[in-house]
């Protein structure tokens, strides 16, 4: 602020002072008003007894307007400074909020979690790598890791493979538009919603009672007894993975389908003229030319499977040995309040996804959205 007073050419000392003081007063006044408005909004949202719909509208306006206002006010303040200083500070008005939020929500927590994973349940006593040893020796955890591997392998393989197959088929079919929309649609449904849908496929009633689950009804139609699908491992995990596949095949199909359109027809025709069978054309010509897209899709789904949480929570709550790393992490942290073990599991997740994301980004780089 001192620079602001020194910058103008020499005038009467009183004038300079007045202008400077005026600027300072305004510069303080505006942010203070902005802050009061935001604070009032916050208090209203926190404790108001107003009808829900009013609160929701206020929340939306306050949240979005507040953030926009912070930028406008900060920019306004910085532009009041002499050019040299505003030039130096302005970039931080632009990138500063993002950096601050990322630091608070990801960077610092990652460090804190890494640190906490070396301590006991209360975070008091240093235990070295005990939590990691526990994570790889406890039977529950070993089952969870096995399940995550099942998710990773089957989820990724079948979602991508089926997506590829359907994309190729649909392209040659006359039902392409309808088929694409309907197969893609589950993508818009939450895993929680999808789990409710699939409960009506897997539902089990003891023999003799009417089966309301589709699978058991099909079995009954063939004269077979009902199966309790979700209680026996590892079949139950496989059946949960089916839900993921149901949701993700559409994604794979659409992305791979877009890539298929870019494969030149002449190349395929040339292959056919040379006597290649359709399978050889697919295997030797189509797949190699869309390989980068297949890798992107596969790594994307792989990341999803490693962090899978919702489907397991909504279908079985992690019971019957369907638990995965993310559900155990939640349990350790928020049910057993074992901060150390929860943290170790989170770090294990980080280590598991890092190479996949790195690989995904390498494929992604240079491709604009």
């Amino acid at each position: 602020m001192h620079q602001a007073a020194e910058a103008p050419p020499p005038r009467g000392i009183a004038q300079v002072l007045a202008a400077g003081v005026g600027r300072v007063v305004v510069s303080i006044f505006v942010p203070v008003v902005a802050f009061i408005v935001l604070w009032a909004g916050f208090l209203f949202l926190k404790d108001s007894g107003a009808p829900k719909i009013v609160i929701v509208v206020v929340a939306i306006v306050w949240g979005i307007g507040g953030v926009a206002m912070l930028y406008v006010v900060a920019n306004w303040l910085v532009e009041k400074l002499p050019p040299v200083w505003s030039g130096r500070i302005l970039p931080f008005v632009f990138v500063g909020p993002a950096i601050a939020i990322l630091a608070f929500y990801l960077l610092v927590p990652a460090i804190l979690t890494g640190w906490a994973s070396l301590f006991d349940a209360n975070g008091k006593e240093f235990v070295g790598l005990d939590n990691y040893v526990y994570s790889f020796t406890n039977p529950d955890m070993i089952t969870a890791i096995r399940n995550n591997v099942l998710w990773l392998v089957f989820g990724t393989l079948f979602s991508t493979g089926l997506g590829l197959a359907i994309a190729v088929l649909v392209e040659r079919s006359r039902l392409d538009r309808l088929a694409k929309t309907l197969i893609f649609l589950p993508m818009a449904i939450s895993f929680v919603g999808a789990s409710v849908i699939w409960r009506f496929v897997y539902s089990y009633q003891p023999e003799g009672q009417p089966q309301i689950g589709l699978l058991n009804a099909v079995l009954a139609a063939f004269g077979l007894g009902p199966v309790s699908w979700l209680t026996g491992e590892p079949l139950n995990t496989i059946l949960l993975i089916v839900i993921l596949i149901w949701g993700q095949v559409g994604f794979a199909m659409v992305i791979i389908g877009a890539a298929l359109k870019g494969v030149p027809d002449e190349m395929l025709e040339a292959g056919r003229i040379d006597g290649a069978t359709e399978w050889q054309v697919f295997r030797r010509l189509i797949v190699p030319s869309i390989w980068p897209t297949i890798v992107t899709v596969a790594t994307t789904i792989a990341i999803l499977t490693l962090k899978i949480y919702d489907i397991v929570t909504a279908m079985t709550g992690g019971n019957f040995n369907t638990q995965v790393i993310a559900t155990l992490m939640w349990k350790q942290a928020f049910t057993f309040f074992d901060a150390g073990r929860g943290a170790a599991l989170a770090i294990i997740l980080l280590i598991a996804v890092t190479p996949v994301i790195w690989y995904n980004l390498r494929q992604f780089r240079g491709r604009a959205i």
Partner: protein
Amino acid sequence: MRRITWSRVAINLTVLALVVVWTVPTIGLFITSFRDKQAISNSGWWTVFTNPQGAFTLDNYEKVLFGGDGLATAFLNTLAVTIPAVVIPILIAAFAAYGFAWMSFPGRRLLFITVVALLVVPLQIALIPVLKAYLAIDLNGTFLAVWLAHAGFGLALATYLLYNYISQLPKDIIESAALDGASHFTTFRRLILPLSMPALASFAIFQFLWVWNDLLVASTFLGTDKEVQVMTQALVSMTGSRGQDWQLLTAGAFVSMLVPVLVFLALQRYFVKGLLAGSVKG
């Protein structure tokens, strides 16, 4: 005359079969949501075609929306969480992306590399530390807490994607705006934001879907208070506590799907781009 080949018929039949397999579970849910409790537990949903008794009632919807589960409240809460949780990170990320792309300042490279590196951090890592911080300042259970959390978890990706887009905008227009005396702020507001609309829309759709369907972040930072809980939480608590109240569960699930499915059908094209863009969400 068109020659009908067997392979063509086979392909069409296969595709049709796939479509049926893919759609039947959802149709089952839809039909079930209109059946009364008795009918649901006594017979499969497919029997409505032969025996339509108890097959059509709106009671389930009425009960689940305005009864003890209060899904109407949860629906409004989901809106209140989702809209700002989509707009706030996009706004912040767009500012940051412009800053990284078109402003020079010390530490720019290092900061940008940090942002990209943070893409690998799964949000599970942040749950406990952030929750502790929230509890310390009594922020937990507020919408603000969830907005900022979603902003934080989506920001690395948003910044990275928007940077890719904004840094590719033609240099000339940005420089000529500066020559005309436009400040960075004006350039950003008048030029960059409108020009980046496709990228912003793609990310917005992805983030919308992500936030609307999220369970983990909401469960952690909103808690179990019915006044603020979102629909995914309400549904999970229904499956857990009264897993046998099928009729309410199905109606509730349908209500929760309505908005994303409509958005999906309306904006399918952007959707694809958004999904591709969001592939590495942390």
